[in-house]
Amino acid sequence: MKSLLILLSMALLLVACSQTPKPSLYQQLGEEAGITAITDHLLHQIEHDPLIVHHFRDTDIPRFRRLLMEQLCELSGGPCVYSGATMEESHTGLNLNTRDFDRLVNHLISAMQQQGIPYGAQNQLLALLAPMYPEVIGR
């Protein structure tokens, strides 16, 4: 009887768990609307940062915005395909240094904070972006 009860409760637990799967990163970022808001916060931060805004002088901002949203969507497991150039290609000639990268990371964190993204999801996204550092710096 006791073991039956345990079996039953385990079965219930399994069902309960399978019915509430862990939300994907894309979902935790708020899907399309969330990623749009994060991107816009980020662009706003960049626009008001005199130390990095000059790197965007020759950038087509609407196109950059669209590609960044695509990239964040694809990276986080959303239903998008990034259609832009490779990170090496798109950062060639910009000669970005670690300070630029640090500032961008801080702006992204601040954008995710403003959007109320959970800390764990913020770190998941940062963990996906950090490996791009060598592809972006000093080109």
Binding site: N97, T98, R99, R103, V105, Y119, G120, N123, L126, Y133
Partner: protein, 276 residues
């Protein structure tokens, strides 16, 4: 001296100055010896939040109170380019039970050789040097210490794994130190027979629970050269609160083992650090 540092410290705290471009908490805390790290182990991180071509200044004050001793430590630091770190600390070790005090000055230099704590698969690797000079050498000399001053050389590797445990970031640090110091220099350097450097291992692990809060553990292996009393390894468990890039507070429970024949020295550590 301590009072002067604390005055400068609080005066600077009142200034809302830009602290540099690096991400919060990546400067670590400041050790009792003035180098960036945990509380007792220097890490490969460069103090403050300066990134490429940026300067940063730090000031810190800390107190460790164990059963029979109290250590006050205070100092200042200067970092440049997330590459160089210069530091000065004055330690005042009060022998609460025995009576009297021991003081030493520590001048530190650290140079980042390679890696970026957050971004590269290679850990951040730094080489550091601490020149220590005792100011009350009479007592250490009486218990068998050979020299008034000594140099510690260390190689540290630190790395943060983003999203490592339950979405939290994990920092691991390993440090190899070559030292002649007895009780980190508070009991002088070397003994009558041995002045050569010995290699010691030091390690830290910290988990960032939020952008502002970290918890961790540290271990510091120590030599045991003075015949009059056993010296033991140090360890601690800490909580660090990075209030903002200008201010951090670290609290720890420390186990310093036997010191100068007095057994099982345990107690609390509190450190306040400002960075601009």
């Amino acid at each position: 001296m301590n009072n002067l540092v604390m005055c400068v410290f609080f005066a600077l705290l009142a200034l809302p100055v830009q602290a540099g471009s690096r991400v919060l908490a990546t400067g670590g805390a400041t050790t009792i010896e003035g180098s960036a790290g945990g509380g007792i182990v220097p890490w490969a991180v460069i103090n403050g939040y300066g990134s490429d071509d940026e300067w940063s200044v730090q000031a810190f004050g800390s107190r460790v109170g164990v059963d029979d001793f109290t250590l006050h430590s205070a100092g200042v630091g200067l970092s440049f380019d997330n590459r160089w770190e210069l530091s000065y600390a004055r330690q005042q070790f009060k022998l609460d039970t025995i009576g009297g005090q021991l003081r030493q000055d520590i001048v530190g230099v650290k140079y980042r050789l390679a890696g970026q704590l957050l971004y590269t698969s290679l850990p951040q690797i730094s080489l550091g040097l601490q020149y220590k000079r005792h100011l009350d050498f009479e007592l250490p000399s009486l218990v068998g210490a050979h020299s008034r001053s000594g140099v510690d050389l260390y190689l540290a590797a630190s790395k943060v794994w983003l999203d490592a445990i339950a979405g939290r970031n994990l920092l691991l640090n390993g440090t190899i130190r070559a030292t002649q110091a007895n009780q980190t220099g508070l009991l002088g350097f070397g003994n009558a027979d041995q002045q050569r450097h010995q290699l010691m291992f030091e390690g830290s692990a910290a988990l960032l629970l939020t952008h502002h809060l970290a918890v961790g553990v540290e271990f510091r292996q120590k030599p045991n050269r003075l015949a009059f009393a056993d010296e033991q390894h140090w360890r601690d468990v800490f909580v660090a609160w990075f209030v903002n890039p200008n201010l951090s507070v670290t609290a720890a429970y420390v186990d310093l083992g036997d010191i100068a024949g007095l057994p099982s020295q345990q107690g609390w550590y509190l450190s306040l650090e400002g960075s601009w």
